[in-house]
């Protein structure tokens, strides 16, 4: 990167930028291994892997993950074919019509997710009322509504993936197939689809990930059910807990693995293309050490090794020590207090407790909704209480 060497300030800026990008994630990951019941780095108490086990015991999270998985598959199955169709239609219309249709197709991406979520909810609710459907029917099913809501904008994402691939498609291939006597359907299935396969794969991955991590739309459409993200949001709003950091460790790990696979795939492709070109003059050792794959792989092996090591590491002794120290500290404070004011000896125990909850008042989710408008008489909607707002608002 000659340019970066020429401008050391530029290199420094990039370094700071990547620190901003990865610093918060790194801090969060470290907190997952601290035994302190509040996610933080200092004071460091004990190295522990308990938060991971606590995570696996969390049934709501596991159930939410299952739902997210089903929704993700459903979204991929609908959004990818729709996106493909949209891209093909767009490539066949004239330039003037094209810009209008493009604006319509791209609109769901630009629309706030909240608006998509609640319009989907209202639409199917009206439709259900119109047909006089039961509350058990799919009109009111959180899973169905969530798939419908997410497909609305994820189709547009996958359309963008297909459009960039279609730009490189040579239409004479289809013409050749037609000249050779193929029917149009055959040409579509045997020429266009194979050409689109890499884009179909990457659009599927993109759609699945986008579905997994969506919150704004899902929180409206999921109704009484829950997904991984909504459970996570509930947990975070209830109170901070290092087991959430443990989730982050797992997700960052999976993301890194995904990045390695992606990078590996790209390298193979470029290598194939570059094979005809002259061999590079870089010595093999240096090439190996600067290989991004090797670097990420190394990081990943370190991470996995660390987690395994922590898993075998027994933190109970250390935790008992910390507990004892805390108790001794409390006792000391208590005694000091008692010496000063013998009358009010019952309070100080609380004051001396660890500083973990000094921010408690600020964080309590009830505070987030101060100017909540007065309630109207009766909830007009059949979902009035299915949403169970107190689940989300609670925690005080």
């Amino acid at each position: 990167m000659s340019n970066l060497k020429a401008f050391p300030t530029g290199g420094l800026y990039l370094l700071l930028f990547f620190l901003y990008l990865f610093g918060p994630l790194a801090v969060m990951i470290v907190t997952a291994f601290n035994s302190s019941s509040f996610p933080r780095i200092s004071p460091w108490e004990c190295l522990t892997s308990d938060w991971f086990f606590k995570l696996f015991e969390d049934e709501t999270l596991i159930a939410g993950l299952g739902n997210s998985f089903v929704i993700g598959i459903g979204v991929v199955l609908v959004a990818v074919p729709v996106g493909l169709a949209a891209a093909i239609v767009l490539s066949q219309v004239g330039p003037h019509l094209r810009s209008v249709i493009y604006a319509v197709f791209i609109a769901p991406i630009l629309m706030p997710g909240v608006v998509i979520g609640l319009s989907t909810l209202i639409f199917w609710d009206r439709l259900g009322t119109f047909f006089g459907a039961d509350y058990d029917s799919f009109f009111y099913s959180g899973m169905f509504l969530t798939i419908a809501g997410q497909v609305t904008f994820i189709s547009a994402y996958s359309m963008l993936v297909f459009l960039s691939r279609l730009q490189r498609f040579d239409p004479t291939l289809t013409e050749a197939a037609l000249d050779m006597g193929a029917s149009q359907t055959q040409a579509f299935v045997k020429v266009l689809l194979p050409f689109m396969t890499p884009a179909i794969l990457s659009a599927s991955v993109l759609a699945f990930l986008a579905s997994m991590e969506n919150y704004n739309t899902t929180v409206f459409t999921i109704v009484a059910e829950s997904t991984f993200t909504t459970v996570l949001a509930q947990k975070v709003r209830y109170g901070l807990d290092p087991s959430i950091s443990a989730v982050a460790v797992i997700i960052v790990g999976i993301t890194l693995v995904g990045a390695i696979i992606f990078e590996n795939y790209n390298r193979l492709r470029t290598q194939k293309e570059a094979r005809a070109a002259a061999a590079s003059s870089v010595p093999p050792v240096a090439r190996f050490a600067t290989n991004p794959l090797v670097i990420i792989g190394f990081v990943l092996v370190c991470m996995i090794g660390f987690v395994t090591w922590v898993g075998t590491h027994d933190s109970s002794v250390c935790e008992a020590n910390v507990e004892q120290m805390k108790r001794a500290y409390q006792q000391e404070q208590l005694e000091q207090q008692r010496n000063r004011t013998p009358a009010t000896a019952s309070e100080p125990a609380e004051q001396a407790s660890p500083p973990a909850n000094t921010g408690g008042g600020v964080f309590s989710p009830g505070n987030l909704a101060p100017g909540q408008p007065e309630q109207e008489e009766a909830p007009a909607s059949p979902f009035g209480n299915v949403f169970a707002p107190e689940n989300l608002q609670g925690g005080d």
Binding site: F22, L110, S155, V236, A259, P373, E376, Q393
Partner: protein, 310 residues
């Protein structure tokens, strides 16, 4: 009518009947059933009274401006006047979204320029890949990370007090510092990629020519790079603004006790408020303002919508 028929027959000839049916059914289902009809239903719903289910479709179910009147005038009980609370929240949300967009633009422009104008290589590809990794970490977790950083006993307060920069913990959450930092972080990628794509295609000879003619670096950026990257800037700004104004998770998790995001009010009307028509009216207001903003940006930067989202 005949022209439409001719269009369809041409379309079917071109693709073959089965494929043409697939294309048209998929696209029209998407656009009509999933996008347009729900929006129209929401729009219609926002002009209705908040009625209990049995009365819906009955004689009382008529159109009304009540929900919009509430947004502007407030409750009848509070004696008319102006609904300063909700209007202030909307205004604050929009100002904050513009603020976050400007921060993101300021952070990302140098990064995009450095990455795009540096020479090819695996190191560069690794950097681009590194940009994507934080983006695939769940939105909730990213907000959570900022709670850990900015909390009263968080890393930043801890480090600041250790270094003796300040004595008592600073309330970053209450001051919304955490919220703005978290929002800027959450959508940074959507600013970088349009900028990067725009600047990458700029011929480096143009910059060198400007340098040779004696232009300073500031002039090079002002006269050469920024005009060239305008579609990227418009596209990135639009995306970041829309996502920030429509954000729900980050304000819920990182918002201070005294601040409210407009989406949170919509959320409240749908959940604890139990007034769907009013929530719909608020959503329509948000959508209308966002659309106006996009149109304004496109007018200011003189770009067409076709260049957004690339």
């Amino acid at each position: 009518m005949r022209e439409i028929g001719r269009f369809f027959s041409g379309f079917a000839n071109r693709n073959g009947l089965p494929v043409a049916i697939y294309l048209l059914v998929a696209v029209s289902t998407w656009i009509f059933v999933l996008v347009i009809l729900p929006q129209l239903t929401m729009f219609d719903f926002s002009f209705r009274h908040n009625l209990p289910p049995p009365k819906i479709g009955g004689p009382e179910d008529v159109h009304t401006l009540e929900q919009y009147r509430y947004f502007v005038m407030g409750n009848e009980i509070t004696g008319g006047g102006v609904n300063t609370l909700d209007i202030a929240v909307l205004f604050k949300t929009l100002v904050a979204a513009v603020f976050v967009t400007i921060i993101d633009l300021a952070i990302c422009y140098p990064v995009a320029y450095l990455l795009a104008q540096s020479s090819e290589g695996s190191a560069k590809r690794l950097l681009v890949l590194a940009l994507i990794v934080p983006f695939w970490v769940n939105e909730i977790l990213r907000a959570f990370a900022f709670r850990i950083l900015f909390g009263a006993t968080g890393v930043i307060n801890g480090a600041g007090m250790q270094l003796g920069l300040w004595d008592a913990p600073i309330d970053f959450i209450g001051g919304n510092v955490a919220l703005y930092a978290g929002l800027a972080y959450a959508y940074i990628l959507l600013m970088i990629f349009p900028l990067y794509n725009a600047i990458e295609s700029l011929d480096r000879n143009q910059i060198e020519a400007a340098r040779d003619m004696g232009a300073s670096w500031a002039q090079v950026h002002r006269r050469v790079v920024i005009p060239y990257a305008k579609p990227g800037i418009a596209s990135g700004s639009t995306m970041v603004f829309m996502l920030t104004a429509g954000a729900l998770a980050a304000p819920q998790i990182l918002g201070g006790p005294s601040s409210l995001w407009f989406t949170q009010i919509i959320y409240q009307w749908f959940n604890s408020g139990g007034n769907w028509p009013r929530g719909s009216a608020y959503a329509v207001i948000l959508l209308a303002i966002c659309i106006m903003f996009v149109l304004l940006i496109m007018r200011v930067f003189k770009v067409s919508i076709g260049e957004i989202g690339r």
